[in-house]
Symmetry: C2
Subunit: 329 residues, 2 copies
C-alpha cells in the first residue's frame, strides 16, 4: 500500500457504534470511509447519506467483495461477528471487529486461525486501548511510576430499562453486561496483568437468563489481583484504579472513554494528567489499523490476537462459573 | 444509672487504638475515663499519665473488678478479645469490644451468649457506623434517596512494611487484612444489605500464611451485590459507593473515618453532604454505649450483636474459601 494512498474503509452493520466509528474516521487524515454494507440497501443508503459514503451495499457479501475497499469495520451485534468477519477475511479484507470479538473463545480461535492462515490483518476494536491517555498509562507503568502493580479495580455499568427483546437482554443477541461492557474492565486488567490464574465471580442473572450485574475477582501468578464489576441495570462509577507498590493511578470517570488520570506516587504530590483525544476517540483504533496495513503487519502489537483469545477465554471461564450459555453455543 | 452521673470508663489494653478512644472520650460530656488496665502496672501508668487517668491496674482482672468502673473498652489484639471481654462481662461490666469482635463466629457466639445470659451490655466497637455522616447515609437510604440498593463497592487497604513478627502479619495475632481492615467494608455491606447469600473471594496469602490482599464478591437474596477488597501491603482508594436503582452515593476517601459523601440522584445535580465529626470520631461509639446504659438496653440497635455474629460468620466463610485458619482455632 503506497504511503500516499488513503486507507479505504467500509462499515459492515450501520448501527450506533458504526456511526461513532464513521464520525471518528473523519479525524484520521490517511483514511476515508468509502463503503457501507447492510442487510438492506435502504439501511445502507440511510447511513451513506448521513456520512456521505459513496458506495452502498444491500448485503454484507457485496461489501466484502467491493474491490474499492481495503479494510472493514464489523459493527453488527455480537453473535454475528464471527460470520461477518470471516466473510470479509475470505475476501482478503483487513478487519477491525467490534468487541466482544466473538461469543466465546472457540469462535475467536477459529476466526483468528482463519485470518492467520490467509495472512490478512485482523484486530479487535477495543478502542479504549488506543486513546492517548491509555498510551500514557502504559508508558507510566512501564517506567515504574507506581512500582510493580499489585491490584486493579475497575468497573463499567449503566442502567438500561429492561427490555426482554432488546440487544442487552436477549440471549439470542449475546445479551448481558459481561460481553457488552464487562469486557472493558477485563480487557484493561488483561492489558496490565495478562491472563488471570484464578477467577472468582458471581452474577445476578435476570429474567431472560443473562447477567444484569456481575463482579469478578482475578488473581494472577505473582499474587496480583483485579476487582472488576459490570452491570446493565445499575449505574456504576466507571472508574479504574491501578494500585502499585509505590503509588497508584486513577483513571477518571468514564475511564473507558477517558481523558484524564491522576498519578499518585507514594510520598509525593498527585499529578493530574489530561490527554483528551483529538477526534471522538474512535479515530485511534482506525489509525492503528492504517499504521499496521502500511507496515504490512497482520496484527497490532497493541491489541494482539493472542490477547483477544485470552480475554475471550476469561469471559468463557466467568460464564462457566455462572452456568450461563447462549442459545447459539 | 442516674442521669446526672457520668459513665465511668476503663480501658483494657493501652495501645494505639486505646489512645484514640481516650482522646475521643474527651468529647463525650457524660463520660469520663477513670481507669486503665494493662499486663504491667508500668504500661498502665504510662497511659494513665498521658491521659490523666486516676486508676491504674497492672492486670486485666483488677480492672474488671474495679467497682468504680461502669464500662470497659477492650482494645487488645484480636485473639485476646474473647477472654478479655468475658473477664469484664463476668464482673458485670458493660463492654465495648474492638473489631474484629473475635477471631471467628463460634467465639463471637460464645461471648455474646455469655453477655446475654448475664444481661450485661455488649457492643462491637465498629466506630465508623456511629459517625454523623453514616447516620445520614442510613437516613438517605431509608428515605429512598437512591431507590433500592443494587450494588455496593468499598475497599480499605494500606501498605505496611512486611514484618513477620508484627501484628498485621503474625497468624498468632490474627494477622492479615481481612480481620483488621477488611471487616470495615464487610460491615458496611452488612449494615446496608445484611448477610450475603453467596460469596466468591480470592486472597493472596503472604509468607506468614495470612492475607496480604484479598477481594470478595457478595450476592444477596434479592440479587443485590457487593464488591469489596482489602490489603495490608497495597494502598487502596478507601472509597465506598452505594449504587441504587435511582442514583448512587459516594462516601469519600477515607470513608471508614469519613466526613463527606456525595449524593447523585438519577437525573439531578449531585449534592455534597459534609458532616465532619465533633471530636475525633471515636466519641460517637462511646456516646452510644452511654445512651444504651442509661436506657437499660443490653444491646445497641445500631450495632446489634446478631449482626456482629453475622459479620463474623461472613469472615469465617471467606477464610474457609481460602483455607486460612489461625493457630488458636
Amino acid at each position: 500500500m503506497a504511503e500516499a494512498e488513503k486507507i479505504r474503509w467500509g462499515v459492515l452493520g450501520p448501527g450506533n457504534i458504526a456511526r461513532k466509528f464513521a464520525e471518528g474516521l473523519k479525524s484520521v487524515p490517511d483514511a476515508e470511509l468509502v463503503a457501507v454494507g447492510s442487510r438492506t440497501l435502504a439501511n445502507a443508503d440511510k447511513f451513506g447519506d448521513e456520512f456521505d459514503v459513496p458506495r452502498r451495499h444491500g448485503s454484507y457479501a457485496e461489501l466484502a467483495e467491493d474491490d474499492q475497499v481495503d479494510a472493514i469495520y464489523v459493527a453488527t451485534p455480537h453473535p454475528m461477528h464471527k460470520a461477518n468477519t470471516m466473510l470479509c477475511l475470505a475476501a482478503g479484507k483487513a478487519v477491525l471487529c467490534e468487541k466482544p470479538f466473538t461469543i466465546n473463545a472457540p469462535d475467536a480461535r477459529e476466526v483468528i486461525a482463519f485470518a492467520r492462515e490467509r495472512g490478512v490483518f485482523l484486530m479487535e476494536a477495543m478502542w479504549t486501548r488506543f486513546l492517548p491517555y491509555m498510551v500514557k498509562l502504559r508508558e507510566l507503568l512501564a517506567g515504574g511510576a507506581i512500582g510493580p502493580v499489585r491490584m486493579i479495580a475497575a468497573d463499567f455499568g449503566f442502567r438500561a430499562g429492561f427490555d426482554p427483546a432488546g440487544r442487552l437482554f436477549d440471549p439470542n443477541l449475546g445479551g448481558g453486561g459481561l460481553l457488552d461492557v464487562g469486557v472493558y474492565p477485563i480487557s484493561l486488567a488483561s492489558m496490565i496483568l495478562g491472563a488471570p490464574a484464578e477467577i472468582a465471580s458471581l452474577a445476578q442473572l435476570g429474567p431472560t437468563g443473562v447477567d444484569e450485574q456481575a463482579a469478578f475477582v482475578f488473581k494472577y501468578a505473582g499474587g496480583e489481583m483485579a476487582v472488576l464489576y459490570t452491570a446493565v441495570r445499575t449505574l456504576t462509577p466507571m472508574e479504574a484504579v491501578i494500585m502499585g507498590a509505590d503509588g497508584h493511578i486513577r483513571l477518571h470517570s468514564p475511564w473507558w472513554r477517558g481523558t484524564t488520570m491522576t498519578l499518585h506516587p507514594a510520598g509525593a504530590e498527585p499529578e493530574v494528567i489530561e490527554l483528551p483525544p483529538e477526534g471522538n476517540g474512535y479515530n485511534y483504533e482506525a489509525a492503528e489499523v492504517g499504521r499496521c496495513l502500511r507496515e504490512g503487519a497482520a496484527e497490532s502489537p497493541v491489541m494482539g490476537l493472542d490477547e483477544t483469545i485470552s480475554v475471550m477465554e476469561t469471559l468463557d471461564r466467568i460464564r462457566g462459573q455462572w452456568g450461563m450459555t447462549y442459545p447459539m453455543e
